[in-house]
């Protein structure tokens, strides 16, 4: 699977508003990402990187252009169909963790499995396995309020991988974390990518974090301004 086409963008455009108030967030983006890649997306605010991520993650539809996700033309899909793609093929990680409050870690992690119709036993098994993989085997009863930022993000990562997706979309995953925790999280993501072949597409504004990825794409004014191999992570981070 590694090396096959994952994401193929062709003339991807997103326009908000109409007429004179129309604003082109994306102005015809072309992009090619293969399975197994670890890509960092960088850019100043207003550059369109959030819009790009939303469309790549099938949370939003483009106004024009085509988006092939594993060969599926996402721009032709309706809301329900995009939900199904997210359910089966994509995991999300957010800057704010976005865990359900007053809910245990185990319940948080098993949430995607609920929508897949798994039985209670299966859900618990898979959720525990995911928590173990992110290094939190004994925290399953804790609610987010009882976990540190880094631990919460780990739970969020466990939730993202519990359905065994082959793609992870991460939106500033370390934005709310200190540098030590950031290093831990990036190490976890790196391992997921190298050991399990999960493709990761990550938005970040920190150069050190972007360096952990293998490829850096710079977005500016709705277009890709730069697309090159990552210089590699400095030794202090690994």
């Amino acid at each position: 699977m590694t090396g096959e086409a994952l994401i193929q963008l062709s003339g991807l455009t997103k326009t908000y508003g109409t007429g004179d108030a129309a604003f082109m967030a994306l102005c015809g983006v072309d992009l090619d990402i293969r399975c197994g890649e670890f890509v960092a997306v960088m850019g100043p605010s207003g550059s369109g990187k959030s819009t790009l991520m939303n469309i790549l993650g099938c949370l939003d539809s483009p106004t024009a252009g085509s988006y092939l996700f594993k060969g599926i033309s996402v721009e032709t899909l309706n809301k329900d169909q995009r939900s199904l793609i997210r359910r089966h093929a994509i995991g999300f990680i957010f800057q704010g963790f976005n865990l359900l409050a007053r809910t245990s870690a185990l319940e948080n992690v098993e949430l995607p499995l609920l929508y897949r119709g798994y039985s209670r036993k299966q859900r618990h098994e898979l959720a525990r396995a995911a928590l173990a993989r992110v290094g939190l085997p004994d925290k399953e009863r804790n609610t987010p309020a009882e976990l540190s930022g880094g631990q919460q993000q780990r739970v969020a990562i466990a939730r993202a991988i519990v359905t065994n997706p082959d793609t992870l979309f991460a939106d500033e995953p370390t934005g709310n974390l200190d540098s030590k925790t950031t290093a831990d999280i990036m190490e976890l993501l790196r391992k997921l990518n190298s050991e399990r072949g999960i493709s990761i597409i990550m938005v970040t504004h920190e150069n050190e974090v972007a360096a952990c990825a293998k490829r850096i794409i710079k977005v500016r004014d709705g277009l890709i301004a730069d697309d090159s191999k990552s210089p590699g992570s400095p030794s202090t981070l690994s």
């Binding site: 993650g57 929508y115 939730r159």
Partner: protein, 402 residues
Amino acid sequence: MLLNALFIALREIRRNLTRSFLTVVGIVIGVAAVVTMVTLGRGATETVKQQISKMGSNLLVLRPGQGWGSWGAPQFSMTDVDAIRNQIPGIASIAPFVIANGTAVYRENDRSSDIQGTTPNYFAIGNWEVGIGRFFTDEEVSEAATVCVIGDTIRKELFGDGIDPIGSKIRINSVSLDVIGVTAVKGQGGFGDDLDDNIITPYTTVLRRMTGRGNGQNVTQIMISGQEGYPTANIVSDVGQLMRERRNLASNEENNFNVFDSLQLADVISSSTKVMTSLLGAVAGVSLLVGGIGIMNIMLVSVTERTREIGIRLAIGARAREVLLQFLVEAVTLSCIGGVAGIALAYLLCKVLADVVGAPFLFDPKINLIAFVFSAAIGILFGFMPARRAAALDPIEALRHE
């Protein structure tokens, strides 16, 4: 899938018990109100029916004028009584009533009362039983004997509980009567009157010693009991025809008398209590509606507060209709819990109030089922709009929400 949704809904409800309680309290009150009103109303209707049946079934009362209290209209005579007894088929027993007012006195106690003069067969017609002593006989009627049978209230008022009234003499309007019997207690009648507040003597005694014969038209009312199984409606129309002939009423003149059928009476009164019950139930139903609006409002607030959570669910791959179902199931679960709690509360209220109001306690499972179904329907109806709003959220916007 639905069972799963139910568990998820219960978990969400438990997560914020205070809010869930506040949401549901309107429904609880509404359901409790409706069920209590309707149950008590049915109890009251039953009570009225029972009270009227104490008067005796198959009982017809022939009275002067239209309506129950027309005192000006011409009364009946003993020849009317004989005519009816001889000519109308289907009659089991007939008793004339001659009524006088007076004050009954015993030693230092007195009580003003209606003295009902009649024949011994009245006791059977009117469903009376002997409490102590006996009733008077036909012979005592022909002798115009100075005897009387009193009701339990008269006994209590004149004699108290220590004295045996049998054999004692009471004075009414300068006539002295021997008390020979007390009727068994009957309690309240269908009109709320005290059935034990009466003094019954032979009618001849009243005519000869109290009121005088007058113009021969001194029978205030005639009580008739129909034979078992014989349709009372026939007796009513036959008596009506006979009386019209005897009174020479032209075909365009209204009756100056009327016949009361106790069964009809029971129906009239019970239908009016049924109307009251429906009215009270409807008013209580309004409170149920308000409870539904309460659910809708709280669910709307809940959706707004859980916008981020909805965004997460949508991002993870929940379809819009699954979010809709989730919130709808939450609303219906809440309203059903409210319904059950309301029914339980109504049960308690009815138990307490039945004693206070004096109505029998008739908890009808059919009413409970309807109330429960209704509360579920309220949940669906008023939960739909908030659920739809939740489902329509854009995941990106929702995730950005505070």
